[in-house]
């Protein structure tokens, strides 16, 4: 009896281990393929110069800078609005039909396909507001796409801060905002940062929303103002792998590797920040 139970347990653990492997293996395979095929393209020159000869030669600097600028622009717009909205929903808004509708809308916004955001950005920012195909229009489009993620994770992080802290603060003569500023926000910061980074990572890697709003097919110079067009890594990758005949394979994989590296390093920065703020937290 006991022996068979032990056997079943071992079988169970074995099966679960196998399932984990099935999950992890494709990720490792993707990374491995990209690294193996793309590493030969990576050089300082590749990262720091303009493309030429129809992008078959030279570097991808404008695409890297473009993606960094777009991510920064997205953060500048989405973080204050997103965190502000989350604070309102979690700390001030009463539970009414209206706020429930707002929450439902946020959840649903997160599920909208990114190409729809792209079309909205084209109509709203590029054409109606006459920002043209520009970093500004692209950042705003990406920001709208990112907002639901930031709002819902930040709201969750704020709600996770024990209610008692707010009560204690109030009992010591604190206003609602004083409680938020001195206790709730600092305590929720690790969670908020996680949400912000998750949202920005998604924005950095998206192609569809920037397709009509920012992306230049081939623009071998750096953008000079927010109203300039720009190249961007995901779109550049799409272009060189489908639109340019005779593109060297290692340049395609090299570009993918750079995008992957960028996203990964953002992720690492986020984890470090989160760990730093979590260590400062004490409950």
């Amino acid at each position: 009896m006991t022996a068979s139970r032990v056997l079943i347990q071992r079988l169970g653990f074995g099966l679960l281990g196998l399932v984990t492997l099935v999950v992890v293996a494709p990720i490792l395979a993707v990374v491995a393929v990209i690294v193996v095929r793309g590493i030969s393209a990576i050089s300082w020159q590749f990262l720091s110069t303009m493309p030429f000869n129809g992008m078959k030669q030279g570097g991808i600097l404008p695409a890297i800078i473009g993606t960094l600028l777009l991510t920064l622009g997205t953060a500048l717009v989405a973080v204050p609005i997103g965190v502000g909205g989350a604070i309102y929903l979690s700390e001030y808004a009463r539970d009414t039909r209206l706020t429930r509708a707002i929450r439902l809308a946020i959840v649903n916004l997160a599920g909208i396909p990114s190409i729809v955001y792209g079309l909205f950005g084209l109509g709203m920012f590029v054409l109606f507001l006459r920002f043209g195909t520009s970093i500004l229009a692209g950042s705003l489009t990406l920001a709208i796409m990112t907002l639901p993620v930031i709002i819902s994770t930040a709201e969750e992080a704020l709600r996770a801060v024990p209610m008692e802290f707010r009560t204690v603060s109030a009992s010591l003569g604190g206003t609602r905002w004083q409680a938020i500023r001195t206790i709730v926000l600092p305590q929720a910061l690790p969670g908020i940062i996680t949400g912000v980074i998750l949202g920005l990572l998604r924005a950095a890697g998206e192609t569809a929303p920037i397709l009509f709003t920012v992306a230049a097919f081939y623009l071998p110079r750096l953008p000079r103002s927010p109203l300039d067009q720009s190249m961007a890594l995901p779109y550049h990758l799409y272009v060189i792998s489908t639109q340019v005949p005779g593109m060297p394979l290692n340049v395609q994989y090299g570009t993918a590797l750079v995008l992957l590296g960028l996203v990964l390093s953002l992720n690492i920065v986020a984890s470090l920040l989160r760990r730093y703020f979590r260590r400062k937290r004490q409950w």
């Binding site: 539970d95 204690v168 010591l172 003569g173 001195t182």
Partner: protein, 267 residues
């Protein structure tokens, strides 16, 4: 009975000074359910007023109404009046943050805020806008001394408050309220999670505090109630059954239900 008759002058006799808080016909509903029903009583200054009775009697609710902490909760209704030094605290235009500085509260569980011992004690004064360093360090030492904690923490003022023992944390919370020099101090079962030695220390500081403040406490046992009460109020099902001189209520209660509870026949 004789002893009560000898003292005879009612609750005010136990008090060191006149009335501090006057509660008149106070009723309270939450989500349509009534949890206080027409409570009328007086809380004297410079004395310990004990609110006791079985769980769900309305003691904590009453406390949270005296500093308007119940404002944080949606779906409540209050009727009746609470007068602090003769002024209705539910009158329109009352500065709630100022009211809460005048009426301090300590909760059943020790709830240190994130941060150091010093940050905890000075949280209230800093929010009130006190910046002067000398003034702040005076407040720090005075409050911790009053809460009988200074000797134990004076060398670790900048250590995390979470690192203190449960008893120390609770006295820290008392010190945190005292830092605002409140006029009324509400303590909701401040010793419920503490061992007997810590409990004794907290009670000791209560006797110290009542020389300056109006202290209101929900005790965690009838024994504790009897030990500290100058004035005792017995609550049952949201009603104030009996309110009187501490020793009288515990030795010769006038009401049958009070007697049953005090002698341990129920509750």
């Amino acid at each position: 009975m004789e002893r009560a008759a000898a003292r005879g002058n009612g609750p005010a006799a136990a008090a060191g000074a006149g009335p501090k808080v006057r509660i008149e016909g106070l009723s309270y509903w939450y989500d349509g359910k009534q949890s206080l029903n027409g409570v009328t009583m007086t809380i004297p200054d410079r004395a310990i007023t004990v609110l006791f009775g079985p769980a769900g009697g309305g003691k904590t609710t009453l406390m949270r109404l005296v500093n308007r902490l119940n404002d944080l909760v949606d779906g409540t209704r209050v009727t009746g009046r609470i007068l602090l030094d003769g002024d209705d605290i539910y009158a329109p235009g009352v500065d709630i943050t100022r009211l809460r500085r005048r009426v301090g509260m300590v909760f059943a569980l020790p709830l240190p805020l994130p941060g150091t011992v010093r940050e905890n004690v000075l949280y209230g004064p800093r929010l009130a806008g006190i910046r002067n360093r000398t003034r702040l360090s005076e407040i720090l030492e005075r409050s911790l001394t009053q809460a009988a904690l200074w000797a134990e923490v004076k060398d670790r003022l900048d250590a995390p408050a979470q690192g203190l023992s449960g008893g120390q944390q609770q006295r820290l919370c008392i010190a945190r309220s005292l830092a605002l020099e409140p006029e009324v101090l509400l303590l909701d079962e401040p010793t419920s999670g503490l061992d007997p030695i810590s409990t004794a220390k907290v009670e000791e500081s209560l006797f110290e505090l009542k020389t300056q403040y109006a202290v209101v406490i929900v005790p965690h046992s009838v024994q504790q109630a009897a030990r500290v009460a100058d004035v005792a109020a017995f609550f049952l099902g949201g009603e104030l059954v009996e309110c009187g001189d501490g020793p009288q209520v515990f030795t010769s209660p006038r009401n049958k239900r009070t007697e049953d509870y005090v002698t341990g026949r129920f509750g």
